[in-house]
Symmetry: C2
Subunit: 464 residues, 2 copies
């Protein structure tokens, strides 16, 4: 069915009698209060130092769930609760890549999340190098068969982080593309912008029509060395990955609220994800996001006058390895979906918010622009592009819930994304506080607005 060019938005229940607009200056005062006395750095530190790595289903994940309940309560949120989520479990084991020819050398490597293991003694094969999946597609099967395919496209550093979307297919789609041509295994240049000797993991998406071959990321310096050597002649290496799949485990989405003063059934959703990849304390990804939304809610909860609608913090389970928490949330809250005014997720680290954008009813765009006007003094610019939404908002987007992006400066984010190097040492407190202030001001303004933001048109409910 072709979507109508002007879809009828599914409006949430109107607020019957709007009370008078909040006294001018509430949002601005909130913004400035967060900016000057934000606890976001301390909240980030607490999750990073006291919990650390928290991959779905791991002991760290269980510690994070307890931390989140404790922390939301301590920050003055109400209705704090854990909603069960079933998560898949994958466990990294010993991993090694050893170059055999032209020179012997240990390479720094990490299995991609979900990778199949190699046989115990590894896979030893010639390396065939291609920048991208498109380049692989041009090769004969004969050139690939039995080899280790090395994808070495470079990720571009940009302020918006768009380089990631362009580069990441070597990780997500590369392994199955190589397997379809008979490859024995895949190694990729880490999808990241740094040049440190630390590989970036991240999920591989095996496709049903291809054998599941082992896949791993080399650190950027190792990948560049291999690229230089391959420019001069053949190379051969042994890849050993000892990963395994364990039975599904239980995790939880953690919710906490600032109940609305006059329309508590209407929801402004502030999301972030509680989990991290297994090998990282996840300071930027996504302890910072958790801290930003917790700080926004804490500051609103501390106000004498609460906004009309409920501000709900959702710390999603397992974003990294299949958005299990996001799907569980959408299912568990199906009845409430029409009463979600708007949803936003903080999942781009500790950077300053630079732009605000919206996806909802086209006619609501001016109302959204008004909501983000108090963010202008923070350096935030409204842009008329459609918001993209965090990964955990995909199921809500599919159901038409309007989305906002408070898009953070992503210049540094992909230096440490999905690596052990994503630590407190990389958090820039001033930037983090600006982001928390922006989220707080936006959340209050949205929760207290008159009218609504419509629904996402049908033809924009799927990510492209």
């Amino acid at each position: 069915m072709t979507p109508p060019s002007r879809p009828e938005p599914t409006a949430p229940a109107q607020i019957a009698a709007d009370p008078p607009a909040p006294s001018a200056g509430t949002v601005e005062a909130l913004r400035d209060a967060v900016l000057s006395s934000s606890q976001a750095w301390e909240t980030t530190r607490s999750l990073v130092d006291e919990v650390g790595p928290r991959f779905a289903g791991s002991p760290g994940d269980r510690a994070a769930v307890a931390w989140a309940q404790r922390t939301l309560t301590a920050h003055g949120l109400q209705n704090v609760r854990a909603e069960k989520v079933k998560v898949p479990r994958w466990q990294r084991g010993h991993e090694a890549a050893h170059l055999i020819a032209p020179y012997p050398r240990d390479l720094v490597v990490a299995a991609l999340g979900g990778s199949a293991p190699t046989p115990p003694r590894g896979i030893t094969a010639e390396v065939i190098a291609v920048p991208t999946v498109a380049d692989l597609d041009k090769l004969d099967r004969k050139a690939v068969e039995g080899r280790i395919v090395f994808f070495h496209a470079r990720m571009e550093r940009t302020q918006t982080g768009t380089g990631y979307g362009k580069a990441v297919s070597i990780r997500t789609a590369g392994p199955s593309a190589a397997a379809r041509k008979g490859a024995a295994a895949v190694i990729i240049r880490s999808v990241g912008t740094d040049v440190e000797r630390i590989p970036h993991t991240g999920a591989v998406f095996y496709q049903a029509d291809a054998p599941r071959i082992p896949a791993a990321a080399l650190s950027v310096p190792d990948a560049e060395m291999l690229e230089r050597l391959l420019a001069k002649g053949p190379a051969k290496l042994t890849l050993t990955l000892d990963s395994k799949v364990l039975p599904d485990a239980e995790s939880a989405n953690i919710l906490g609220e600032v109940p609305g003063s006059s329309a508590p059934d209407e929801i402004v959703l502030l999301g972030a994800h509680l989990d991290s990849w297994d090998l990282t304390p996840g300071a930027l990804d996504d302890a910072a996001g958790c801290a930003i939304v917790i700080e926004a809610a804490r500051a609103i909860a501390a106000l004498p006058r609460k906004p009309r609608r409920t501000v709900r913090v959702v710390l999603f389970a397992n974003e990294e390895f299949g958005i299990s928490g996001a799907r569980a949330y959408a299912a568990a809250h199906a009845a409430e979906i029409p009463r979600h005014l708007i949803a936003i997720e903080a999942d781009l680290g500790d950077g300053k918010v630079l732009t605000a954008s919206f996806l909802g009813s086209d006619t609501a765009r001016p109302a959204f622009e008004a909501l983000v006007r108090p963010l202008v003094p923070l350096g935030v610019t409204f842009i008329p592009d459609d918001a993209h939404g965090g990964s955990d908002l995909i199921p809500l987007r599919a159901l038409g819930v309007p989305l906002a992006d408070l898009h953070q400066d992503a210049t540094r984010y992909f230096d440490v994304h999905h690596t052990p190097n994503d630590t407190m040492a990389k958090i820039v407190r001033e930037d983090l506080d600006q982001a928390a202030a922006a989220y707080a001001a936006f959340a209050y303004a949205a929760a207290d607005m008159s009218g609504d933001l419509g629904r996402i048109p049908e033809d924009k409910r799927q990510r492209r």
Copy 2:
């Protein structure tokens, strides 16, 4: 014996009849030729990519010795030879640090070079934190006994690299100082200026009057986390190091020369060290230094008119773990020492040369200043401070051989020093080429100068 206030310099044999000064412009043309067509990056790459880690006595060290002979020959040097050097052998094994309290966490750790092993099941103890060795000295034995001492002084980033000298005693002297107070083991904040999750190794110097306790470096982010946790309460960890000492092995200093045209017995020594720490490909430390001196000699060898004296490249064995090569060179060349006009070592990475300084006869300082005048257009400033000399020049300094420093910009050097992260990705080609040009111009000017540079006064022959 008190050294005389004005020691009589031991002059090298005078050059009998000085030929006319080289046509003005030779040094400048050489400088510019290196700047525009330097092969230093490629030489660095070759050692890093084709040999990689090359710790004294290891298979990599043997590969480096072969590489050096091949490379000096290929670059047009003469009298290329390997001079045997006996080196001690120490081997890193499994290493781990696991925080037990207040929270369980794996810490990123590397044994210090030469560290004693722990028992196989590790050492588990409470941690006592002090910034420096001086702070430890103030503590009662009771506060230290049976504990793991954690030295967490921070190294300051400076252009000259002086922060290293101030911070490094926690690594070199810390373990014995802690052992004298009954400590079970030592961990240190890595002596480095980065904030990456990669520890810096480097030699520990066990003193004869103290038990040899295990000692390791935490990555800076791990050390900072531990420091934060210790500010809130006690911490306990398990350190496991499986290192061992092996029988001494054979390595070699590699020499190559551009024979002097009229005084071939007189020597201008250009040094660098061929070895690296075990866990690093050593691009800045010291493949870059090797490449700088090789490039300087290559460019001089390619000139139609050679300088009067011999330019001798010495790639020293085992600088990192006890300057074995430097001692062997001084012993093997004892008879030639008086004929060493001056010695210089490139061992500060790929940075641009910023200053030139001298240590020799005080009366020769103006002559030295004249030698480095052609370096001024490269941005090099003569400074009247005494030169320090690289570590491999310590034995020559003790014998009075004049030293030069072409001091490189060390701002970035200690980000990767003694880490696996010291890779080609960190080499700034333009800076490296400037340094090669400076070394080439200086080496030619010195090798072709009239007169000499005297000897180091007796009271300045020991480092302070």
